[in-house]
Symmetry: C2
Subunit: 403 residues, 2 copies
């Protein structure tokens, strides 16, 4: 109901830094417009930041009809966030600059179901962080398959990892003495997509990931929609075929049980297209080589995904749909059937909805998790509660230690 102006001090200060980091140098007037804030405030904020030594005047200028702009730039760009992707059998670590660019990345084997999983994870994180310059790390973002309740604490439920009510955020925070944000991996990816990726200029974005499972991240009016307990985005279990194949979740005909990579591999094996020990890579190779049956499998998946996604687009009316995930590696084989099915199932007014396919890179998931940290300082109310404040504090502190 009522609104309030809380700790906004550093929120806007951080927003200035992030904008400069993400979009390059800008004038004060540009900042005011971009952040939707009065020029007067920018004057004050930048004065502080210049004083703190975080910003510098670039003396650049180019007049276009009026007083030339004095550009401002970040003094030091080595402000980073660490992102972690947790999968059942491995974890990936990346360190990402404030501009969203990956600085270094590492993958490690990992056994999520082991009773030692969390303490093992802590060791791995500690090792990764100390390999870099610990002082410049703003915080740690963790992305994992599952739902996260009470974001401030970071309580994880994940069937894939076999975790039940694990307060991962709290545990990592204690062990590492750094701000930690835990989030569903698709939501993390969505944040990254909106901060640095294809969804950059939009406030309403639908991010869909295709891999072993199918997931969706929904951004409405610039904020991630998390639902009741972080459980939103389960596009994979939208029912598609009444008599469809059995899904992990126990129901029949879920989207994910038809177009997930495991399902495709299953289909291919059942017609002896690939052997019992071959997987999706071999299937893709066959399709690449022109095998009709393999192509048919991908086309069928494309068709089914297109129709199901049309339902989501009709329901949510996003400005752009971004497709990502391991599954898009074979996208050329999905594309035609997908496009046809999607367009023909969309309501006429939405038929032109843009769909962008993100080229898949292996550390994308982890990058998304890192983006979470870089985005945290802005949700004033703080979905992540305290963590946003902690990140802001570290940011300001990193300036002071430098001067």
């Amino acid at each position: 109901m009522a609104t309030s102006s809380r700790n906004q001090a550093d929120v806007n200060r951080t927003a200035v830094l992030a904008h400069l980091g993400g979009h390059g140098p800008a004038s004060r007037a540009e900042l005011a417009r971009a952040l939707d804030v009065s020029p007067a405030l920018i004057t004050q904020l930048t004065r502080d930041l210049l004083g703190d030594g975080l910003l510098e005047e670039l003396e650049e200028s180019s007049s276009n009809g009026g007083r030339p702009a004095r550009m401002l730039g970040l003094v030091s760009r080595d402000i980073t966030a660490v992102g972690i992707k947790i999968a059942p059998d491995h974890t990936a670590f990346v360190e990402v600059g404030i501009d969203g660019v990956v600085r270094r990345s590492v993958t490690r084997p990992f056994d999520a179901v082991s009773p030692l999983a969390v303490s093992h994870l802590i060791d791995l994180v500690r090792a990764f962080v100390s390999e870099g310059d610990e002082g410049r790390v703003l915080g740690i973002g963790v992305g994992l398959p599952g739902t996260v309740a009470q974001q401030g604490i970071g309580v994880v439920d994940s069937t894939q990892l076999g975790w039940n009510q694990v307060p991962l955020g709290e545990l990592l925070r204690r062990a590492l003495d750094l701000p930690v944000v835990v989030e569903n991996n698709v939501n993390a990816l969505s944040v990254a997509e909106q901060l640095f990726g294809q969804g950059r200029d939009y406030g309403n974005v639908l991010v869909v990931t295709v891999g072993n499972g199918v997931g969706a991240g929904l951004i409405a009016d610039g904020a991630v929609v998390r639902g009741r307990a972080g459980g939103a985005g389960d596009l994979g279990h939208v029912p598609v075929r009444e008599d469809g194949p059995l899904c992990q979740c126990g129901n029949r005909g879920c989207l994910e049980a038809i177009v997930g990579q495991a399902a495709l591999v299953n289909d291919a094996r059942s017609i002896r297209l690939i052997g019992a020990d071959e997987g999706v890579d071999e299937l893709r190779a066959l399709a690449d080589a022109g095998n009709e049956e393999a192509r048919e499998i991908f086309a069928h998946a494309g068709h089914t995904l297109g129709r199901a996604l049309a339902g989501a687009v009709n329901l949510l009316d996003p400005e752009i749909v971004v497709l990502s995930g391991e599954g898009v590696e074979a996208w050329s084989h999905w594309a035609t059937a997908f496009e046809t099915a999607l367009r023909s199932a969309l309501v006429p007014g939405k038929r032109g909805a843009p769909v962008a396919v993100e080229r898949w890179q292996d550390d994308r998931w982890a990058q998304g998790a890192a983006a979470l940290v870089l985005a945290t300082p802005f949700d004033a109310e703080g979905v992540a509660g305290d963590q946003g404040r902690l990140v802001r504090e570290r940011l300001v502190a990193s300036a002071e230690s430098r001067s």
Copy 2:
């Protein structure tokens, strides 16, 4: 990105009034807690409002361990909003108190496709408003089937009404000199449901309406999700059956083409259950009387709706689903099949999701439109832009004229 504190002055003042109007008298401390604002601020606001003569101290008190609370109440409750439902062949008008209760209501025939439609509408509204006490009307809310772009102006696109880019908000505003908010009817209903109805205590609500069409209103984190151009909520055109019946929208197998009232009537006619001039009322009467075929038709619809809705719930994870619309009049015949289908298609973790069925009243739609006006003053940034400010101004003015 950055946050700002705009005209919040009156926003919070109005929030106090609305809370008192909707929930009855309350103490200052209660208000502070309910509106999530500091007690200090409530002191200031209520001092103003008391001075303006809008509030009175009720001298009530009941101590429970501490200083007794001085209750505050609205001096005058005859602050109202007018709600209008526009359908292709008729319009409904209601005047609603600040507590959400309907004071008076009127239905009038109307021809939406006529070239005189808008001017006719203006006459009807003017007549309805002048029958009451014009001074107490805060503003006018209009709900209609279609999408509304640029809420501030209120540009309407509606295939059902045959309207294309009609700046209805602007037109009404000029003619009536009152704040006007135009919105999709389901979104309006959703706002009402969240302000006064079943969704009152939740921030994530999915409102589904069943009638001739099927619609959805989505509230996430307390705000209506409107999508790219107000086009969100098209649950009716989620594709359900690949080879399903042809839908108005031109596609095949849309949910609405299977479970909409028109579709049910069609089904019944095709098996000669009802005559060519009979409709859904007769079909329902048959089912009520125990006719198996009629019951089967409703049950089939319930099943299909349940499955489709499960997809939306999996995707959005609302705290509560509210069912409404003309269609729920026959809900007893939908219920069993619906529940079974819904629960069995939900992901295990969401299987307990509460679903509330709202008893249908004929002026509900118009009531929703009126709720829009009562809610407008709170969206600080103002989805409805200027209109929120205008409503606040009228509210304050109505106080001054009284004193």
